[in-house]
Symmetry: D2
Subunit: 96 residues, 4 copies
C-alpha cells in the first residue's frame, strides 16, 4: 500500500486494488465484514475472477485520508491477500 500521509484529515477518494486467493478460508467473509464496518468510507466494490484461485477486487473509498490509509493497510495485511495497491485520487473539486 502506497504511503502518502500528508494532510491526513483531508477528505479524499481512493481505490484499493487487491489480489487474493479466495480459497483462503474465511477471507471473503473477513473482507466483506471489514467493508461493512467501514460503511461510511466504502462506496462499492468490483470483483473480477482472474482464474480458479485468484480474485481481483477494487474497492472505492471516500473519507479522511488517514482513515482510508488505515483501512487499506489493514486489508493489505489479511492472510491470503497477495498484493494491494492504494491509489489516492481527488474528488475533482477545485480542479479544472
Amino acid at each position: 500500500v502506497r504511503e502518502d500521509l500528508s494532510q491526513p484529515q483531508q477528505t479524499s477518494v481512493a481505490t484499493l486494488t487487491i489480489v487474493y486467493d479466495h480459497h483462503t478460508r474465511g477471507l471473503s467473509d473477513k473482507l466483506n465484514n471489514v467493508q461493512h464496518d467501514h460503511g461510511h468510507e466504502i462506496v462499492s466494490s468490483l470483483h473480477v475472477h482472474l482464474d480458479h484461485h485468484n480474485c481481483l477486487e477494487v474497492i472505492v473509498l471516500r473519507g479522511k485520508k488517514a482513515q482510508i490509509q488505515a483501512l487499506g493497510d489493514r486489508i493489505a495485511g489479511f492472510k491470503g491477500v497477495k498484493h494491494a495497491t492504494l491509489a489516492l485520487t481527488t474528488d475533482g473539486k477545485g480542479l479544472r
Copy 2:
C-alpha cells in the same frame, strides 16, 4: 429467481441481483467460491453495502441459459440470501 427455460442451450447474458446479510457465517466465502467454480459463466460482480447488515451484489453472467438459470437457483437457495432476481438479457447481436 425468474424462470424462463425456453431455448436452454442458447447463449445468453444475465444479471443476478441478490440481497444478503453478510453476517451469515461463511456466506461470502460460499458466494465467492461458487462464482469461481463457474468462472466461465461469470464475468464480474459489483458489491454495494446497503447498511450494516445488508449487501447487494450484482453478478454478470454469460453462458448457456440453462447453466445461468441453474447457477442463479443455486445461489438463491443459499442460507442468508434474502432476495434474488435473475434478469436475462441479450448479448445485443441481431438486434438493432
Copy 3:
C-alpha cells in the same frame, strides 16, 4: 422495463440492466448525464464490454419506487438502448 407500481412512495433498491450499442453517437454522454442528474438515486454502475458493438451496463438505484421506475423508463427509451430490465429488490430490512 418491468412494471410494479404498487406503493410508489416506498423506498426501494433496484438494478437496471441495459444493453446498448456504444456506437450510437451521444448515447454514453446521455446515459452518464442522466445518472448524474439523478445522483441521489444512483449508487454506482458496472460496465461490461460484450463485443465490439454491445455494452452491458448495470445501474444500482436506491430511492422511491416511483422515481426509480420513472428513471428506468426514461433510460429504456433512449435511442440505441436495445434491452432494459428493471429488477426491484429489497434493502433487506425487515427480512430475515
Copy 4:
C-alpha cells in the same frame, strides 16, 4: 499515470482510476469507444458518481504491460480527465 516499463511484454493485470467531469462534451462517448477498441485488454469498469460534475471510473485491464500502459496514457490525456492513476498488480500466479 505511473510509469513502470520493465518487462513490457509480460502479461499483467491493472486498474486505471480516473476522475473526470462528465459535462465535457463527448468524453463519455470517447471513453466508452476507446474501451471497446481495446476489448481484449478491458474486463469491466465501475462507475461512481462523486457529485454533480465529477465521476470516478475504475477500469480493470488485463494484457501486456506495454499495451496497458499505452492505453492508460491515452485515456489520461483525454480532455476533461482531471486525474488518472494506473495501479499495476499481479494475476496472482506464482505468488502464495
